[in-house]
Symmetry: C2
Subunit: 161 residues, 2 copies
């Protein structure tokens, strides 16, 4: 089903270890039709995510994954090796876009780039890092864009001692 | 588990039926602990979404739903009566934020407001509508903010005949 994490990266990056422009690559994930329909039944029960004939007649012209399923798969890939930040991935918010649909059989992977690093002034043990992630299908087409603001801990707290 | 759709709204709104400032209210959804852990296991397998003790020691100070689970529940509420747009909810992208965590036992509902309506010039049968949605918990606290750009069909195509 998924092979996120196969890259075997064990290193965890603190805020102090990151630099703007640094890039990370995830493993891959196979989006299968049963999973598309199961996710849709629970969270996005619209005909074009549930039924092949209805999807063919819709604006999607064929079965398409819920955009929120696509977003969940990207998070799976990011949390299983795709973006190995210390303390895990704690998002405050961000921007999302789905340029084209995710389809049954798509093999997905995520590339991420550190866009901005802001140490907190009031909380010296952490900061906010902006990460731009793109999820691609097996044809190299971008199916999902995420610009996320993440809470990232510092390796060591600056001290006056 | 969920009672989205209980409002019984059957009317479907086309682009032509919408006005800026118009508001919509969803049904409610109970976020339960088993569902939080099941979603996290599949899409966001981080300790603070999976394990009570680890969550208590984390930045969340207790079990918290994945933000993507929270987003999925909001979509469930929007697609089951919370935002009855003709042709369904087809999102192009948007902005998201999670001001506070969603917790086990939270009872959630979504309020939405039409923020902008842009008929397409090149495709006279549709347009882009911007909707600002806020999901609240049972204490009236905003747990999720979504500003989404949606593709909405027109009731009738303007004709030169």
């Amino acid at each position: 089903m998924q092979s996120g994490g196969v890259t075997g990266i064990k290193e965890q990056f603190y805020l102090d270890d990151l630099r703007v422009g640094q890039r990370f690559t995830s493993g891959t994930y196979l989006m299968d039709e049963a999973a598309i329909k199961a996710f849709a039944a629970e969270f996005d029960p619209q005909p074009f995510h549930l039924d092949d004939a209805a999807a063919a007649a819709s604006v999607f012209r064929g079965l398409a994954a819920s955009g929120w399923h696509t977003a969940g798969v990207a998070m799976r890939l990011l949390t299983t090796g795709g973006l190995p930040l210390a303390g895990g991935l704690v998002g405050l918010g961000g921007e999302i876009a789905w340029p084209i649909p995710t389809r049954p059989g798509d093999i997905l992977n995520v590339e991420s780039e550190i866009a901005e690093i802001k140490p907190s002034r009031s909380k010296p043990h952490q900061g906010i890092v902006t990460v731009k992630s793109t999820m691609f299908n097996q044809n190299g087409e971008a199916v999902y864009l995420l610009t996320a603001k993440l809470l990232v801990p510092r390796r060591q707290v600056p001290s006056g001692d």
